[in-house]
Structure formats: structure tokens, C-alpha cells
């Protein structure tokens, strides 16, 4: 093959630019060339993709039907991979996040201990480690947030990536979470105190069931006075149950879900302010 100026990876193979001529080579494996195609120079391809393609496919009709067939084949494959992989990946990221928190706390404590005695180069080394760990923690948190936003847009909008991922972890999968009633979602993560209360009740003693589990971490609950938290938790959980189902069955964002949660929170907020003024 003679010398060429540039090479372009396109979905149907390679295109070589020589002087002002184009040489088009069709790939034997369209699925492979489709997956590998992209602009490496981060630039527009300077020739007509379709015209180059017609040279090897023969006609416009064949060009489009091959393109469509290959695109569909690849989409089917990628959907399978995405749906299977993403939840497990998010859960393992979440575990990494929790372990990082442990590590960061441990090292921070050590730094304080050391500082009390003497500041030397070892404390500086510890500080560097903590800095790096914190950076890693931020990166992982971002990754979880964007992953959840992508595969569970409704839950992500209502409670954010981290809480949504924790709920998935506790339930086992999005599929299982979407089949849980709101009352279970409300106390997910507070099983211990729930069973303690239940066993007391069995013995005929008085007991209170927990108001909230994982979702307590949400600012809409945490920032309310105790007397309203239960109500807010119940409302939030009911919307989350809906969100989980939409996320599992359709995956499209339903815009008014979060709005209703926000309105309820503001209503409670006003109520609590009015009460404290009295």
C-alpha cells in the first residue's frame, strides 16, 4: 500500500486520504469496525461518510440497511451488558466508599495523635495519604452519582446517588427494590430496631417501630424536627417506591415526582417554623 496522509476509522472500515484521493477499505467484520470507529483527532471527518461508504456498498440503500443492521446488533449487545453490569458495579463502588471512610478516619486520628507528640516527616506522609484518600473518595462519589443518574434517574433525582445506591445494596437489586412496598423502603436499613420493637410487642410490652432507616440521611428528613420526620419519611418512601418502579420498568425521568417531594418538605418546614414561633 502506498503512502497516505491520514487514516480514518469509520463504521464500515478504514478510509485513507492520499493527496486529494480517498481510498476506502471495507472491513470484513462490520460489528468490530463499528465498535472501533471514532474520531481520534477529536475532529469532524473531512469527507462525506455516506459517499465513501457507497463506494464499497454499491448503493445508498445498501449503505443504510447495513448501517442500521449493525447498529441494532451492537445496541442489543450493549444493552445486555449495561443492564447486568451497572448495579453490581455501583454496589462495589459503594463498599469501596465505606471502606475509604474508615481508612480516612483512622489515618486522621493517627495524625492527631502524632501531632500531639511531635511534628515530623512521618506526620507529613500521613497527611499526604489522607489527602490522596479524600481525593479518591470524591472521585468514587462522583462515579456513583453519575452511574445512578444514568441507570436510576428518578431515584437519583429524589434522594441523590449515594442514598439510592445504598437502598439498592440493601434490597439486593433494583428489581427487588422495585417490588418492595413503600413501608419497607421507609425502614430499609433499620431492621435491627424494627425486630427489636417487634419482639418487645410480642411479649406484650410497649414499643415503637423505627420511622426511618437509610433514608434518614436525606436532608429533607434530617433537617425537620423529630415530630415531623416520621411523616416526611413516609411520604418520601412512598415516592421512592414509585421512582424505583419507573426506573426499573421504563428508565425515563418523570419530572413531577421530585417536585411533589420538595413541596411536601417546604410545607413541613413552614409548619415547624410556625410551631417554634408560638
Amino acid at each position: 500500500m502506498s503512502e497516505y496522509k491520514s487514516e480514518y476509522k469509520v463504521w464500515f472500515g478504514r478510509v485513507y486520504e492520499k493527496d486529494s484521493e480517498l481510498e476506502v477499505r471495507k472491513s470484513d467484520d462490520l460489528v468490530q469496525s463499528f465498535e472501533e470507529s471514532k474520531s481520534e483527532k477529536l475532529d469532524k471527518i473531512p469527507f462525506s461518510l455516506k459517499e465513501a461508504g457507497i463506494r464499497v456498498f454499491g448503493s445508498e440503500e445498501d449503505y443504510y440497511s447495513s448501517l442500521r443492521r449493525t447498529a441494532i446488533q451492537i445496541a442489543e449487545k450493549e444493552i445486555e451488558r449495561e443492564l447486568k453490569g451497572s448495579e453490581r458495579y455501583l454496589i462495589s463502588l459503594l463498599k469501596a466508599l465505606d471502606e475509604l471512610d474508615l481508612g480516612i478516619n483512622l489515618f486522621s486520628e493517627k495524625i492527631r495523635d502524632l501531632e500531639e507528640i511531635k511534628i515530623d516527616e512521618n506526620t507529613e506522609k500521613f497527611r499526604r495519604i489522607v489527602r490522596d484518600l479524600k481525593k479518591l473518595r470524591r472521585d468514587i462519589e462522583d462515579e456513583i452519582n453519575s452511574g445512578v443518574a444514568r441507570s436510576m434517574p428518578n431515584m437519583s433525582e429524589i434522594v441523590g446517588g449515594i442514598i439510592a445506591a445504598r437502598l439498592i445494596e440493601k434490597a439486593g437489586s433494583l428489581k427487588r427494590l422495585s417490588s418492595l412496598p413503600a413501608s419497607t423502603i421507609q425502614i430499609l436499613g433499620a431492621e435491627k430496631s424494627l425486630f427489636k420493637a417487634m419482639s418487645r410487642m410480642k411479649k406484650g410490652k410497649k414499643a415503637k417501630t423505627p420511622k426511618h432507616g437509610i433514608i434518614f440521611q436525606h436532608p429533607f428528613i434530617r433537617t425537620l424536627p423529630k415530630s415531623l420526620r416520621g411523616k416526611m419519611a413516609r411520604f418520601l418512601a412512598s415516592k421512592l417506591a414509585i421512582a424505583a418502579r419507573i426506573d426499573y420498568y421504563s428508565g425515563e425521568l418523570k419530572e413531577d415526582l421530585f417536585e411533589s417531594v420538595k413541596r411536601k418538605y417546604e410545607e413541613f418546614r413552614e409548619k415547624s417554623k410556625a410551631k417554634s414561633r408560638k
Partner: protein
């Protein structure tokens, strides 16, 4: 059975019809319903609460899509709007980008029955990833509800939109800035778009979609 009465043709294959004493926006279609819309004789109901493009048309603004053009559609989701565009572009093609796998599964059912849709599971903010697949297009439609959506739109226009080509951007105020006044957000988006495009028209999508606007631009 009641007949369908055509009240007005809006653009190619898009009509306003009366059926059972109610008015409907419809597209002429030989395909079955895709998202729970009604079908009467040859028409598919185009529900403005589901599709922002339908909301725009019912609010009195129309972009004249010729049946042979090529469109790059960013944010295809499960294909509600794409299904109607596919009815309109009888001789054209739609390159449909969506990055979320779950709605795309539903979308794929649509792509399988319609010959003018090319489905691509890609991230619209990285056009270089599909620069070797998508050809130069006449029009870009964007409905992606992302903070930097005007930047993403401009990037895709650089790669794929021909000079003089058109674009429609659906903007949701809250996904760009959840605390600012919607009118402030819209002003900001419009001035960002003005850097690379001329703005033909913009307007509200109320009452169908709250705090949303459409922006029609030319490259």
C-alpha cells in the same frame, strides 16, 4: 364508527384532526402505537404531555421537516418523539443517540420495525465517539436535560450539522439550575447559544411542560 375529520395539515404527515368530538394532533402512520397513544384509522395521536415537540406545535410554532432530511436526535429516551419524527421523515433518516440502557431497550423495539431509525447507545457529550458513524445532517434535535446542554449541542453541531442547518433544543430550567428563576436560566441558555447560532424563535411549552422552552436555531 366515527370518522376522522382532518381540520388542518400542519406539515408533512402532521395533522390536526377531529375524532369523537375532540381535537387531536396526529401523525399519519402505518405503524402500531408505541407509548400508549391512540390510533384511529391511519393516524397516531401525538400526545403533547409526552412529547415536547408536540407541545411546541400545539402552542402554534412549527418547524417544517421535509420528508427526506437527515436528523441527529440527542436524547432519544424510549422513542416517544422519535416515533413521530420517523412518521414524518418517510424518505429520511434519524440517527438517535441515547446513553441510558433501560429506556433504550424499549426504543430498540421501535428501531426494529422502522427502517429510517439508526439507534446508537452513546454519550451525546462525546460526539467524537460516533464521528465515524453519523454523517452530516440537516437538523439536530436535542432533549437531554443536562446542565451543559447548550455546550453539548454546539459540540455536536460542529461535528455533524451542515452550514445553514437547523436545530431544536428543548430546555428544562430546573435541570440547568435548580434554584435560579427559570426566566434567568433561559436568558443564560439563549446567550450561550447565540455564540454559535442565530436564534430563529423560542417559546414556552406551557401548559404541557412547566418551566420548559424550545429554542429553534440556525447554524
Amino acid at each position: 364508527m366515527t370518522d376522522v375529520e382532518i381540520l388542518k395539515q400542519i406539515t408533512h404527515n402532521v395533522f390536526l384532526v377531529r375524532y369523537e368530538n375532540r381535537e387531536f394532533l396526529v401523525t399519519k402512520s402505518k405503524f402500531k402505537p408505541h407509548y400508549g397513544e391512540r390510533k384511529f384509522s391511519d393516524f397516531r395521536e401525538w400526545i403533547p404531555y409526552r412529547s415536547k415537540l408536540a407541545a411546541m406545535i400545539l402552542n402554534g410554532y412549527t418547524v417544517d421537516f421535509r420528508p427526506e432530511i437527515k436528523i441527529l436526535y440527542l436524547g432519544a429516551a424510549s422513542g416517544t418523539t422519535v416515533s413521530h419524527l420517523s412518521d414524518i421523515l418517510e424518505k429520511g433518516h434519524i440517527y438517535a443517540i441515547e446513553y441510558s440502557a433501560r429506556p433504550f431497550k424499549k426504543f430498540l423495539e421501535l428501531a426494529l420495525e422502522r427502517k429510517n431509525i439508526i439507534p446508537l447507545l452513546k454519550d451525546a457529550s462525546r460526539p467524537e465517539e460516533y464521528a465515524g458513524i453519523v454523517e452530516e445532517v440537516d437538523f439536530i434535535y436535542q432533549d437531554i436535560a443536562q446542565k451543559n446542554q447548550s455546550e453539548i449541542f454546539a459540540k455536536n453541531a460542529e461535528f455533524f450539522l451542515k452550514k445553514g442547518g437547523g436545530g431544536l433544543i428543548m430546555v428544562k430550567a430546573r435541570s440547568i439550575d435548580s434554584v435560579a428563576e427559570p426566566s434567568e436560566v433561559f436568558k443564560r441558555v439563549l446567550s450561550e447559544l447565540e455564540r454559535s447560532f442565530s436564534i430563529v424563535k423560542y417559546g414556552k411549552l406551557d401548559p404541557y411542560h412547566k418551566d420548559h422552552i424550545f429554542v429553534h436555531v440556525e447554524f
